[in-house]
């Protein structure tokens, strides 16, 4: 089947088997290998991408279900101005070790901050509870998302002040 997907802002098409998982379409057809597959049961969240802005586990969707929709992967987090605040904060706060869960964690974190710009520790833990990390113990992931919230708030304030 022919599908058209907006991937990280660009139009992409692919001819895929109806059974092909979205995670595999992203990795194999679109060549974006930052989306990882860590389990087969929707448990680990390493394959998380944003579909029309909301986090989904791309191993639990067929590629054809993304036809006509917008997908954001880790490769789409940074823009011309540089890293997304969540990316910068993950490095700054040591929110990653092996880096395998990191794309999913950052995408969930970025989506959380879109709907809740000032999340509590508990809000963040709940938001990332569908994403497993085996290295960090989550402490620094939570700190990183909080730090990113602060960066975003400061940027918004600065923008408001200069407007």
């Amino acid at each position: 089947m022919e599908i058209s997907v907006t991937v990280n802002g660009g139009a992409r098409t692919a001819d895929v088997e109806p059974r092909m998982l979205l995670a595999h379409v992203i990795r194999e057809e679109f060549g974006l290998t930052g989306t990882h597959v860590g389990c087969d049961t929707t448990s680990c969240g390493a394959c998380t991408v944003l579909l029309d802005g909301s986090p989904v586990k791309s191993c639990t969707m067929f590629g054809v279900q993304a036809d006509g929709r917008e997908v954001t992967t880790v490769e789409g987090l940074a823009d011309a101005a540089g890293l997304h605040p969540v990316q910068a904060a993950f490095q700054e706060e040591h929110g990653l070790q092996c880096g395998f869960c990191t794309p999913g964690m950052m995408l969930v974190g970025s989506a959380l901050l879109e709907r809740n710009p000032d999340p509590s520790d508990d809000d963040i833990r709940w938001a990332i509870s569908g994403n497993l990390c085996r290295c960090t113990g989550y402490m620094n992931i939570v700190k990183a998302i909080q730090a990113a919230a602060k960066t975003k708030a400061e940027a918004a304030q600065a923008a408001a002040a200069s407007a």
Binding site: H36, E75, G99, F100, T102, L132
Partner: protein, 784 residues
Amino acid sequence: MTTEATEIHGIGHSVKRKEDGRLIRGKGTFIDDMQLPGMLYMSILRSPFAHATINGIDTSRAQAVTGVVAVVTGELMAQHNLAWMPTMSGDTQAVLATDKVRFQGQEVAAVIAEDPYIAKDAVELIDVDYDALGVVVSPQQALASDAPVIRDEKEGQSDNHIYHWESGDAEATDRAFAQADRVVSLDTFYPRSHPAPLETCGCIADVNSATGQTTIYMTSQAPHAIRTVFALVTGLPEENIRIVSPDLGGGFGNKVPVYPGYVVATAASLLLGRPVKWIEDRSENLISTGFARDFHMHGELALKDDGTMLGLRTSLLADEGAFHADAQPSKLKVGLYHVVTGSYDMPAAHVAADGYYTNKAPGGVAYRCSFRVTEASYMIERLVQNAAYELGMDPADLRKKNFIRPEQFPYETPTGLVYDSGDYRGAMDLALETIGYDELRKEQARKRADGKLWGIGIASFTEAVGAGPHKDYDILGLKMNDGAELRIHPTGKGILKISSITQGQGHETTFAQIVAEEIGIQPEDIKVQHGDTDNTPYGLGTYASRSTPTVGAATAMVSRRVIEKARKIAAHLLEVSEEDVEFTRPTFSVKGAPDKAVTIQDVAFAAYTNFPDGMESGLEASYYYDPPNLTFPFGTYAVAVEVDPDTGVWDVKRMVAVDDCGVRINPMIVEGQIHGGLTEGYAIAAMQQITFDEAGNCIGSTFIDYLLPTAMETPRFELGETVTPSPHHPIGAKGVGESATVGSPAAYVNAVIDALWPLGVRNIDMPLTSAKVWEAIEAAKAPA
């Protein structure tokens, strides 16, 4: 030629990680991210039975699927003498089953296809004719006289016993026990767990049919050792084998062994002349690759009434699975379990262990642990708490009374280990002060009076890591020594090549910091290369907290070798004799004339442009480090929990971890390692367990059944540190990656047992699920 003084970001700096730049952008290269031209995909057929004879395998339906290139069976592998392979423990393991299957999930056949979906489809079409056999799922069953013999193909193997191993002095221990006022005992099961790194195992084997060059990209924590094993197994010349470990999505011991999939993929690539990729799915990872623990443990501690420890006796039944494939030093059948006397000064100890085959997956790996020190630490720390209560003492006081004192180091334990350094009381005092121990005990008394179940648990662990000295430590004869090469380029930047590999520990950053500390070139100017056997020095790999103790030491030593040569070049540039040159990184200056100076960067340029007559050009060195001893990190963990008597749910209210890992190279990374270890320790104490039903079906073959902690369950941690350098390590570091997984399970369990002790609960085997805790409470309440 002096430069302005810039702080060198060497040891002790929380330098941000170099690895992160690619990983936060999704630009890491994990094994499944790699594509080679013409690559084929392999999928493995696994046994549904735990024990069954194979009468025949019919691959015709699978062969007929469009896109299938080959179907490989044990028979085909046997034609190339590859149906069996050696294990890390000197046993043999089936690559693809020929005679029978011995555990559920065992590799039976493999399909090689043009597409991974087709390979999986075709695996379903292989027909295997099995006859089920009797099944053994525990060592207790395995030792029964009428137990089915699992390894009947081995000559002289008439039962399921693998080894008997002892450490310590049995007679001296008997004498100690004879003098005891009290003997406290504990029978407990340390359940089978699985490291479950978030990335599963896999490889791409690429054999060039024209040259014979064999490149295997592999999720390996030990690429050099694996290259040698591959050479020995396949007969391929070792210089033609190159193992490349790309970015690893965690390992925790799971990526140490050689798995059948690697061997089959390599054989397939050799036969087909095309690259073959094999990536496990999660269930395959959980049911067939290296597990950990699975120890049935008995321990006895002999004490005087005043709390003085006299001796320790412990016996073990080890469940090794169907093939004895432990990844550990060859002389030590239960690894470093003989560190079981822990942090305590006692004159006698004896360990006896027996290993058995069972119809379960093989591969006892050191899951975030230095060769069974986790089981040892758990045993002693549980025993000590129980002993305290039986003596009517506070568990902290009993520990303090028996700690090995700082002036006793180096301290030889009754099982022959020589601890390098320690200040156990210092770490404990800090932990107790941080958690407010005395106040917590008062609060506990108030809560108990209100009918609440509150508990406080302590573990004061000592680890033995950094294997190790060549005379005692080898795997398959390969001495556990590791190398480093350092090359400084003309522009004053450099490359450090190390034998060990990162799986998230941050080697690319911390090892550059060691170089920075020694020679004064900033860590961002030192590239760290690892994981590629063609381009790094030999070594045994990253596990058992050995990178810093061995490769960290090699890195410091090779840096000092570079400085030796640099000093000669500096003397040439400064026109003085070498003895007159002083080095205060990054500057070489003339003694008594500090203004006359050159930097390491000046020297590096001169090494290629202006070196003295008779000297080799260049500025580089290599070093292989043979540790004089293991290192012995330690610490005290203190946990407060509340147990809900109606549900058995227990909540961690406080978790304080004081670690002493000697000198900390990068404090940020050390703390991250401790966070991760405390989480895996919690996971083992609370939820992770691979179980089997009586037919040998693995219960726990997905993340739905094998529970890993999410951010919701994971406790919040409060960290503290003391620093007692290792006296024999060049930079005083001891290693830290596993301390928290080793030490913390006993702390969590002790806290729950502490809460339930007044009810009469003396033991609950891990994991302490709410159901098990509730059952223990109910059983304790029931009239005897």
